[in-house]
Amino acid sequence: MNIQTLQDHFWWPVLWSVLKILVVVVPLLLAVAYLTLAERKVIGYIQVRLGPNRVGIKGSLQPIADAIKLLFKEIIIPSSANRFLFLAAPVLAFVPAMLVWAAIPFGPGMAISNMNAGLLYVLAIAGLGVYGIIVAGWASNSKYAFLGAMRAAAQLVAYEIAMGFALVGVLMVAQTLDLSKIVEAQAGGGFWSWYWLPLFPFFLIYFISGVAETNRAPFDVAEGESEIVAGFHVEYSGMAFALFFLAEYANMIFVSILTAILFLGGWYPPINLPPFTWVPGTAWLIAKTAFLLFVFLWIRATFPRYRYDQIMRLGWKVFIPVTIAWIVVIGIALETPLRVLLR
């Protein structure tokens, strides 16, 4: 068999890929829709309110109603804006938010693409989201949008470095870039053999950086409504705005599932004993992701917004030095008999 025969088998695998992609994308978009409802409900209850409760049973159809409303709204293009880039920006934000999911394994080997360099791919593609924001800010030709975009971009890059360093720590222990194998490296006991314990600083820094990367409260100065109204998407309406929203929430879910995969043992049950092992692995992964998403919302409901200089200080002066130091600590531990604690 050579490359020519491979071509004869070309269309069937393409169809298979399309199927796999749809199996990921459709539930993902539904999850995004219901995450918005969950957010309003959770924050509602934290603030002793009910949250949306009119559309459907206990507000269960609210996201559908929102989607239909946004669909029938006018897409306003400001007269001074650059029309093409103004409309391209939401797509530029949305596409990387989808593409990162290509490498995410939902179970052993259950991914759109089981690539060798999954973690590198994820880091590279996730970094592209910044284009949607910068282009939106520039194309809008509006001061708030431009300011918001610049703030967002500077913030994203600062936390991306902390994130990258945190991932290096995971790589040192797991010895592979393949996300499936990183999960498998955490098998063994139960929750105490997952990476959150030996790599605790990386776990915290990765997740907090994830909150900052998705521009979520308390790091939401890029769109802080009390300062710069809505930041980079102030001029957007209707479906163009909805795409930014979809991208932001898809990124939230992505950060949560990646944290679950890298630090919380992916699809492994917390205790390796019968009542827990009966539940299928993917359900565990989804449960862990849902818990981390809840933490996202919990953080938003709890903490007041950071000031911009505080955000930059946390990223550059706290997270980066701590991660560099912890990489050295992990390296020393791996070179000494302490390595049994890590592997």
Partner: protein, 140 residues
């Protein structure tokens, strides 16, 4: 035999083709995904444009500035500090690019590789300390 298996049945291939075929099996789905994601992104925009009203007027299309008339161009000159942040980001990103392959082969390269990376990090930490002391990380 599922489709993906048939696609990546490398045992039947000439060795020289294996790498290329593996890239295809791993990244062709990404390419397909790219087109699907573009489609999923563009279709709502078109639908929104088709279904939503379009009643522009000059006030509605003016840039938002809290109800005031916009004064001067929004594309202003910016603080040079943002460039500095972007340049430092590139440099640290390169460091990460060096750290990734290092971390993956940590076990194979042994103590020598570890010490080499300690020297590398040490040199860059000097740069980081310089940056810190110079106040390049202050956001005033």
């Amino acid at each position: 035999m599922t489709g993906a298996d048939r696609w990546s049945d490398e045992t039947l291939l000439q060795p020289a083709w294996r790498g290329v075929v593996r890239m295809l099996t791993h990244y062709l789905p990404v390419l397909i995904f790219l087109f699907i994601a573009l489609l999923v992104g563009v279709v709502p925009l078109l639908l929104g444009a088709a279904l939503g009203p379009s009643k522009p007027d000059s006030e509605k299309l003016s840039p938002y500035e809290c109800g005031f008339e916009a004064f001067e161009d929004a594309r202003m000159k910016f603080d040079v500090r943002y460039y500095l942040v972007a340049i430092l980001f590139i440099l640290f990103d390169l460091e990460i690019a060096f750290l990734f392959p290092w971390a993956v082969v940590f076990d194979q390269i042994g103590l020598v590789g570890f010490v080499a990376m300690l020297i590398f990090l040490g040199i860059l930490v000097i740069g980081f300390i310089y940056e810190w002391k110079k106040g390049a990380l202050e956001w005033e």
